[in-house]
């Protein structure tokens, strides 16, 4: 069975349809909403397998199907689907993990009033994530990227009546959006320079030689090649989404969402989208590698950020006591590993680790969900303990996940993918600092995972909730078991002896293996480091289990200063609140103040000026113009009064006047000599 690229849209469309059904289902329609979501996801999984078959048949090809979205000027804005091994592997992983987590959720959330809404959001997330994977256009990828952010926002704030959840959701959206603005600018720049956003378009795409050649040839601010600048801007988006330093602060807070959400979105899939993005545009990111006289290569920055994040996340995870936060910081750290791998030039190692990590981290999160659900929403490891007995399936699977994450040799998938990354870092000729950061993180990872398992499952219950815990129903344990199986087996897809996955991703049909012990020094070193980590963790937490919930942490007792700093996560949140937060408030106050006290005042001044003119005008009217008229009128009236005095009303007087007048007339005529 194989799926042609023209039908690739079906993979995201089915969950989208399920989301539509979920949004219109009333609250009572639980079965319909969850059923539609799970069935859609399962069919998408089968389709993804079909797509994988298509892609593996010709792994070197980028199968595309492009179409016009809307007309713009002389051309059109075009989108498209892309099918290559990278897309296909990612789709299979997302749909498989997604289906299992959907099933788990029906058990985890079966008491929640907004059950249907939850599946609507989950399906929306899956649709967006799958859309992101099949996109053959940076624009379509960006659209899905933002929708993924929306779904994440809605799901983190799913228990929106909790103010902390609502605040965490907002923080996640805004923090990732800061990175997204970089991605947006990078995309605009790319669009402006190449006139296209399609990845592959028969030679015209932005990841193909013509466009890349043009981008590398131009330089911009600070002597950077344009491709470097665009690559770094796009990488900003990845920093935000994948919780890389310095935008990692949202990811631990995102654990306010329901645990299946943390498993699916904030561990297995969405946060890996940043890694996927960099892997997808890898030709662009690495285009500047051939340039010698540039200040910095894009991938060097990626490696540096990845190394810092890997170490930082692992350090902070050591001192957290919330089971989900430990896992969250471990995710931050592991994503740092993947970025490190991308940066040192081995994107296949990054994707290999992405895939294995998706399974074992989903497993760990679902396991923690199982614990939390059983312990009545107690998630502080200091108050748990002793769950090994009552929760056997959960313990067993969680332990497998822990060993995969810690990189216990040979049997577990995490070992192989981590080894691939360390090898790549070792072979990087620019600097060995990322390798040292990675090795340090190996010890720390093994240490904090041992601490987590020891505190949660060993010893004796340290609270009422923990002592009443019992194993969950099959709907929750079966997904755990399936994931645990994958967490073990998946590693064998990419062992150095037979690196099938790497070969297919790079487009080779033959697999060239190396002896496992080729780089034996590094291999042995990392095995020793894992042993040191687990051993010290067990020595501190497993041998003498915590007595009660309030007892001091062993590290806290010995190094209180360091522990406090780690527990406070190096104070990043406080730092941001004091800088960015203040700046933001100041900017808002400035804008509002400008309006209120400058522009509005100017308008008021103009209005007052107008009013003043009115006053002047009135005074002039009243005193000067009207006064003049009044005076004239008064004089007229006086004259009239004096004339009217002659009107006595006596007819004789008038007659006398007439007679006198007549006589005068006669006299004038006669004396004038007229007759």
């Amino acid at each position: 069975m194989s799926l042609p690229v023209q039908l690739l849209w079906l993979i995201p469309a089915l969950p989208l349809l399920a989301a539509g059904i979920g949004s219109l289902t009333p609250r009572s329609g639980r079965g319909l909403a969850s059923g539609a979501a799970i069935v859609a996801m399962a069919i998408s999984f089968l389709l993804s397998c079909g797509a994988l078959a298509t892609a593996l048949a010709q792994p070197a090809a980028h199968l595309v199907h492009n179409f016009a979205w809307f007309d713009l000027g002389g051309s059109a804005v075009r989108l498209g689907w892309l099918l290559d091994p990278l897309t296909a592997f990612m789709c299979v992983m997302v749909t498989f993990v997604g289906t299992l987590i959907f099933i788990f959720s029906t058990g985890y959330l079966h008491e929640d009033a907004n059950f249907t809404r939850f599946f609507c959001f989950l399906s929306l997330f899956a649709a967006a994530m799958l859309g992101l994977l099949v996109a053959n256009s940076l624009l379509l990828l960006f659209i899905c990227w933002e929708l993924v952010g929306l779904a994440s926002y809605l799901l983190i704030g799913f228990w929106f009546h909790k103010p902390s959840a609502a605040a965490a959701a907002k923080k996640a959206f805004i923090t990732t959006r800061i990175g997204d603005l970089g991605l947006l600018l990078g995309m605009l720049w790319l669009y402006d320079s190449t006139g296209s956003l399609l990845f592959y378009d028969g030679g015209q795409g932005v990841l193909e030689a013509t466009a890349l050649g043009g981008l590398v040839a131009q330089t911009t601010i600070g002597g950077l090649a344009v491709s470097t600048a665009i690559g770094l801007l796009i990488f900003c988006g990845a920093i935000g989404k994948s919780g890389q330093f310095p935008l990692h602060v949202w990811l631990p807070d995102a654990m306010e969402g329901p645990t299946p959400v943390s498993a699916l979105i904030h561990a297995a899939t969405m946060v890996a989208a940043g890694v996927f993005l960099v892997a997808r545009v890898y030709p662009l990111m690495s285009a500047d590698q051939g340039l010698a006289h540039v200040p910095v290569h894009a991938l060097t920055v990626v490696a540096a950020i990845g190394a810092i994040t890997a170490l930082l996340g692992a350090l902070i995870a050591v001192a957290q006591s919330d089971i989900k936060r430990v896992l969250a910081f471990s995710t931050v750290s592991q994503l740092g590993y993947m970025m490190l791998a991308l940066g040192v030039g081995s994107w296949v190692a990054a994707i290999f680790h992405l895939l294995t990590h998706a399974f074992f981290k989903a497993l760990l999160f679902l396991g923690s969900g199982s614990v939390i659900h059983a312990a009545h929403h107690e998630q502080d490891i200091r108050r748990l303990g002793g769950l090994r007995g009552p929760m056997r399936a959960t313990f067993a699977t969680f332990a497998i996940g822990m060993m995969a994450l810690a990189g216990v040799p040979f049997l577990f998938s995490g070992f192989w993918s981590k080894e691939a990354i360390l090898h790549a870092a070792h072979n990087w000729d620019v600097s060995h600092l990322p390798l040292y950061a990675g090795l340090a993180a190996v010890v720390l990872t093994a240490f904090y995972m041992t601490r987590l398992v020891a505190e949660t499952f060993f010893g004796s219950p340290r609270s009422e909730e923990a002592s009443h815990a019992h194993e969950n129903s099959a709907v929750m344990t079966v997904p755990l078991i399936l994931l645990a199986v994958c967490a073990v087996l998946l590693g064998f897809l990419g062992t150095p002896a037979y690196p099938w996955l790497q070969a297919r991703l790079e487009g080779h049909t033959e697999v060239h293996g190396h002896p496992i012990f080729e780089g034996a020094g590094l291999l042995m070193l990392s095995i020793v480091l894992v042993a040191v980590g687990i051993g010290s963790g067990w020595a501190l937490y497993g041998r003498r289990p915590r007595a009660n919930a309030n007892a001091l942490d062993p590290i806290e007792g010995r190094l209180p200063g360091l522990f406090a700093v780690l527990r406070a996560r190096f104070g990043f949140d406080e730092l941001y609140a004091a800088t960015v937060g203040r700046l933001n408030t100041a900017m808002a106050a400035l804008s509002d103040g400008l309006d209120r006290y400058v522009w509005d005042a100017a308008v008021r001044f103009l209005a007052a000026l107008g009013e003043f003119g009115g006053v002047v005008n009135r005074e002039a009217d009243e005193d000067v113009l009207n006064g003049g008229f009044d005076a004239t009128n008064d004089r007229l009236r006086g004259t009239a009064r004096s004339y009217s005095a002659a009107q006595t009303g006596g007819a004789h007087g008038y007659l006398r006047t007439v007679a006198v007048g007549f006589v005068l007339l006669v006299l004038i005529v006669m004396l004038g000599g007229g007759v």
């Binding site: 004339y643 005095a645 002659a646 009107q647 006596g650 007819a651």
Partner: protein
């Protein structure tokens, strides 16, 4: 100075006018004042006739026509005057002109 018929006529009319004027000025009864005024008017009419009859073109009937109009107007005027007198009488029970001073300015 030879007294032509015109001169005689003019003397008569002058006398008539003076009688009318003195009458109008000296009487206090409104009706008598009105009579005086009529006399003065008729003196004027007599002048018109005399100047026509002894004027350069006695063949044309202009003088007679003028006087006829004048008499008709005088008749109407007398009627109005008498009506005024009656109205005054109604108001103040007297026709003495000295009493009718209400229309002063």
């Amino acid at each position: 100075m030879i007294l032509t018929p015109l001169h005689l006529c003019l003397l008569l009319s002058s006398a008539l006018f003076c009688i009318g004027l003195i009458g109008a000025l000296s009487r206090s009864s409104s009706i008598l004042v009105l009579l005086g005024v009529e006399l003065m008017l008729n003196a004027a009419n007599l002048n018109f006739i005399a100047f026509w009859r002894y004027g350069p073109n006695p063949a044309a009937g202009t003088g007679v026509l003028f006087v006829l109009f004048s008499i008709a107007v005088a008749a109407a005027e007398a009627a109005v005057g008498l009506a005024l007198v009656i109205a005054i009488y109604r108001h103040q029970r007297s026709i003495r002109l000295q009493d009718a001073r209400r229309l002063k300015g």
